[in-house]
Amino acid sequence: MSAIQFPARNLWRIYALESRYEILKMLRLPMYVIPTVTFPLVFYLLFGVAMNRGSSGVGTYMMAAYGAFGVMNAALFGFGVGVAVERGQGWMLFKRATPMPPLLWIFGRLTMCLLFSMVVVGLLFCVGALAGGVRLPLSSWFFLSGVLIAGALPFAACGLAIGCWAGPNSAPAIINLAALPTAFASGMWFPIQMLPKLVQRIAEFLPPYHYAQLALSRVGMNRGELEVGRSLTVMALFTIASLVLAWIGWKRDEGKTFG
């Protein structure tokens, strides 16, 4: 066969389209949009604003904590459930038979998660400033939002790993079972100092705890001495472990096709 030159594909264009259609796909899915955007807001309004008797400290803590909770959920569900469903129904198999660059598909989905994270964080900041009595220097707003949104990356990796292994029906249950208790134990719902000592000890082994502490450290409300290095290391290892698991799951699918 003679050498055949194909015109190069425009990878930027593929990435842009993947992102655009991942975003549209999820925007049209109330099952994703409503819990992702409203849960952190409602919880914050309830525990950070309504039950808060004039303490701006609680309002600030809760805004950072629910921001972390919201981003974690947006990424876990956006990746985990989406990937599991599309895998389980044969759609991923079809896409793998096309010349789709898998990395661009992942980046597209990540872009969607980042966008939803920004919406969640932006809305929480508005409510915090307007109703939660949060007063922070501009730089703190800036760095807090940066840490919160960067948190989408490790949890998107974790979601990808879950999506590559779980079935389409079990994925939402697995994520809820994993995310809700760990979010609670990590101090995303109530200040961690209010939790039993045992839970506080366990929390140190949970990636969401370290994520929440990194966020809280931007508003000076982290627990005890700040160990940024340790928390960053935990998040990095968590991300790498998730990606390795996802990679194994992805490769495993190759040998599992049936017919």
Binding site: P7, R9, T98, G255
Partner: protein
């Protein structure tokens, strides 16, 4: 060697997809037990077989969606997972669900972007019979319309080679015929098609070559006429009072069975058998004699795979 600057189509007759001694096992199940299959540019190949014959596995191996336990797979002379091979292939797989919150136009737009020389959207929409449905969400389409979208997605990259895995399963007769026209149009435009089906009629209507797959092995391979000739007989159909057992024992009868109220008899010596039948049953009516079709070939080939394989080995 001169470098061809554009992306020319493969020469007709050139092998473009190949399985060599392909074996695929899933745990205790052997899906493919050593299959050799070559698809040449410009032909329409139908892989025919009952459910569980290994048709889908063969397609998935050729698409690089799984690796064979033994044997080799080549697609355009490459590993089927190479992007350079994949950009020349369009596939229609048995997908139970496509993301429902994207519109027809959006699905095609995205998949087209993966290919270096996609067809223009209006052309894809027209060829797949989706005019007027461009802006409908996938979730709002009927079963037949969904099938057409899957066809559009196979088509949109303007590939040289189509893999169509059971493309018309679950379609009504009219939609099926519409599909056949579309597949034939691709073939007429010089494209290569490998389709799997368990409809004999479909293989007969479309294929230049039929590959009969049964329990992971190729039982027979050839043009529809050649496959039919392997049975090499005629089918007599008539209404008679004679019991089927008695007819089956007549000299020259290979097989006799009921078909509704009629009796169907497979024989290489039709004249002799008809004479015998008329002599024994003067009230015989509705007599019809025709050449054995693909269906008879299929039944006789898959009905006793051991004998077929044995005779193949003797011949070799």
């Amino acid at each position: 060697m001169t470098q061809i600057p554009d992306f020319s189509r493969p020469r007709s007759g050139e092998p473009i997809a190949e399985l060599r001694g392909a074996v695929k096992r899933y745990g205790p199940v052997t899906a493919l037990a050593g299959v050799d299959l070559t698809v040449r540019a410009g032909e329409v190949v139908a892989v025919l077989g009952p459910n569980g014959a290994g048709k889908t596995t063969a397609v998935q191996l050729l698409l690089g969606l799984g690796r064979p336990g033994a044997g080799t797979v080549r697609l355009f002379g490459r590993d089927p997972r190479d992007t350079a091979a994949r950009v020349r292939v369009g596939a229609m797989l048995q997908v139970s669900k496509v993301p429902e919150t994207l519109k027809v136009r959006e699905h095609i737009h995205l998949i087209s972007s993966y290919y270096p020389r996609p067809l223009p959207l209006p052309e894809v929409i027209a060829a797949a019979g989706l005019i007027g449905l461009e802006d409908r969400l996938f979730g709002k389409l009927s079963g037949g319309q969904r099938q057409r979208v899957l066809f559009a997605l196979a088509l949109c990259g303007n590939p040289d080679l189509f893999f169509l895995d059971e493309p018309t399963v679950g379609l009504d007769v009219e939609s099926r015929r519409g599909f056949w026209e579309q597949i034939r149009a691709r073939a007429d435009a010089g494209r290569t098609v490998l389709l799997t089906t368990h409809y004999l009629e479909e293989a007969d209507a479309l294929a230049d070559r039929i590959v009969l797959l049964h329990q992971g092995r190729i039982l027979a391979e050839g043009t529809p006429a050649e496959i039919k000739a392997r049975v090499g007989g005629r089918v007599i159909r008539c209404r008679t009072a004679l019991p089927v057992e008695a007819v089956a024992c007549l000299p020259g009868v290979r097989e006799a069975r009921h078909r509704g109220e009629d009796l169907e008899i497979l024989t290489p010596t039709a004249e002799q058998v008809v004479r015998e039948l008329l002599a024994r049953d003067p009230s015989l009516s509705g007599l019809d004699v025709r050449g054995a079709g693909l269906e008879e070939a299929f039944l006789s080939l898959t009905g006793s795979p051991e004998t077929v394989l044995a005779s193949k080995e003797v011949a070799a």
